[in-house]
């Protein structure tokens, strides 16, 4: 039986994200997870890591643990960049007027739409740790 736990360590760069996302997809293939829940896991992964890359600099390394044991997928993101609590980001109202639309700032709001848990802590190792839970059923 395929392991339902995956640990991914990679540089906090777009290239690092691309390579890690590929490994995440292989892991999800291995546990035969498809459909909407899989999309949400991949989306949370892209949004949180992208946020670390853009706002958490100088993050040199990112470690993500994906656990599918239990009724929820639990994704834990660790990075060694500046302290950054993404819960302080208030999802902004959606734009309806293209001419005055804000560009960007939608990612964390998207994750919050389907995550049942979105936690942040600054660890004793002075790392940022974001934990996201997504129901599997």
């Amino acid at each position: 039986m395929a392991s339902r736990l995956q640990r991914l360590t990679f540089p906090g760069t777009t290239a690092g994200l691309a390579e890690a996302a590929s490994r995440l997809r292989s892991f999800l293939d291995g546990v035969a997870l498809a459909g909407e829940r899989r999309y949400q896991i991949e989306l949370a992964f892209d949004e949180i890591v992208s946020n670390i890359i853009r706002h958490g600099q100088p993050a040199t390394d990112v470690e993500v643990v994906v656990s599918l044991d239990g009724p929820e997928a639990v994704l834990t993101f660790d990075d060694d960049g500046h302290s950054f609590d993404p819960r302080g980001h208030t999802p902004r109202p959606l734009d309806t007027d293209l001419e005055h639309a804000e560009i960007g700032g939608l990612g964390l709001g998207l994750v919050r739409r389907f995550a049942t848990r979105f936690d942040y802590e600054r660890t004793p190792r002075r790392h940022n740790r974001v934990t996201v839970a997504i129901p599997l059923s």
Partner: protein, 116 residues
């Protein structure tokens, strides 16, 4: 992420995207995508039928292009969006800013191109 651009008529182009429009995917094509549309104010239809994933960075690229085109009196519409990608687009209400059409003919009409 792959991108192909084909002229349809004067100041009208069709852009075919294929792959994952996530952070790395958007990063890999955004400069070329915007450069192919904005300076010449090309009205654009985007074939999304081969895009199987989109995240906020992909949405950002599309909204950025549509907004810049609108400022130049040009339009952008997309069509053929896959179901799960469409669900994400609906979550951010992109349909209120950019026409999301079912067919290429509808997208052409949305950007003012007369369908033969």
């Amino acid at each position: 992420m792959n991108m192909q651009i084909a002229p349809l008529a004067e100041r009208h182009v069709k852009v075919t995207l294929a792959g994952r429009l996530d952070t790395p995917g958007a990063d890999s094509i955004e400069t070329r995508f915007l450069a192919s549309l904005i300076p010449d104010a090309n009205n654009a239809i985007i074939d999304m039928s081969q895009v199987d994933f989109i995240s906020s960075m992909g949405i950002r690229m599309l909204v950025s292009a549509a907004r810049s085109l609108k400022m130049r009196q040009a339009l952008l519409a997309m069509y053929g969006v896959q179901e799960q990608v469409n669900q994400v687009l609906e979550l951010v209400a992109i349909h209120q800013m950019i026409p999301v059409c079912k067919t290429e003919a509808e997208a052409q009409a949305a950007v003012g191109l007369r369908v033969a």
